[in-house]
Amino acid sequence: MFRKYLIYGSLGTVMGYILARMGFADYDEINKMFAFVDVRLLLSFAGSVAILMLFGIVFRGRFPRQNKFVQPGTIPGSMLFGFGWAVTGACPSLVFVQLGQGKLPAIMTLFGIYIGVVLYRKIHAKYFLWDVGSCSSS
């Protein structure tokens, strides 16, 4: 169990450092990316997908496969996330990076994300019920 804490703790620190140095949590940079004023972040993101894909091809079978499939929530959920990302400049990981850079308003985003996750969980359990195939969380 201690090993897991050590691994995830180290990975979280490195991920936070990388995202901060990339400028992925800077609202101005995000805004410029979405407005196509500056495509640096877009190229960074596309490049990282390409690198991961390359490793996946070279070391086929050694990488765990994502358990994702199109389900009724894929389109509306992605739309909501996109709108939220444009307003906050944050995704579920970037909010912590914003806070680490001293951006106090990101506290509101943090609360908002938590409320949104809990709210969805309650609504899903009562009305939706389908399998969303969320990221490996167990």
Partner: protein, 208 residues
């Protein structure tokens, strides 16, 4: 802070995702960590089910078989799977092993909180770190007063939290890991959330 060039950022994030997968045995995905924290009260149940699946596979198979026979009768055993078109062939199907990996919710909390420290380290080592009541210059231009901006962040955050859970992934899960594996759901989701974010950004910039 002076940001990395696009290729350095791509190299760092891409290699990080590779190392993450190799070390944890899972593809990179952050919205799942949020889900684990939100359902922490069910953690004991998840751990118990993971332990059961991990401990006695034969017992589970026996239980499942007895329940199947109780529901459908003993005739179910006589069905030749090779005669049933479109279903798995018993001779070529790989051995299925029920296994559920379990990670305690506090591990996910640590993963998220350490991102804060990683970012903090980047800030203090490259710039003079200072606390700011504004998210950014452009954000302040779009939302003219602080109250409006903070309220927008709260509702925007809710959309992010609700949306990522509903879509079953976020930038890392769908955008990075899923797209790298060319998973249709991830490609669709990424196009939609990038598209919607682009449309709203252009609209907000135009209005401000």
């Amino acid at each position: 802070m002076e940001y990395w060039s696009w290729w350095l950022g791509a190299l760092a994030l891409g290699l990080f995702a590779v190392v993450f997968s190799l070390l944890t045995g899972k593809p990179l995905g952050v919205s799942g960590s949020w889900l684990s924290i939100a359902r922490r009260k069910d953690d004991a149940l998840l751990k118990a089910s993971a332990d059961v699946l991990d401990s006695d596979q034969d017992m589970i198979k026996d239980e499942l078989m007895s329940m199947t026979m109780a529901e459908f009768g003993k005739d179910v055993l006589d069905v030749n799977p090779q005669r049933r078109e479109g279903e798995a062939n018993a001779e070529v199907t790989e051995k299925f092993e029920m296994k559920q990996d379990y990670t305690h919710w506090t591990v996910h909390v640590l993963f998220l909180v350490t991102m804060f420290f990683g970012s903090y380290i980047a800030s203090i080592t490259t710039t003079d770190f200072s606390l700011s009541f504004e998210l950014s210059t452009i954000h302040s231009e779009i939302f003219e007063n602080n109250g409006e901006a903070w309220l927008a962040l709260l509702f925007g955050g809710m959309m992010v939290g609700f949306g990522t859970q509903m879509a079953g992934g976020c930038t890392s899960g769908h955008g990075l890991s899923g797209c790298a594996q060319l998973i249709p759901a991830s490609l669709l989701s990424t196009v939609i959330f990038f598209g919607c974010a682009t449309l709203l950004t252009i609209f907000m910039n135009f209005m401000s």
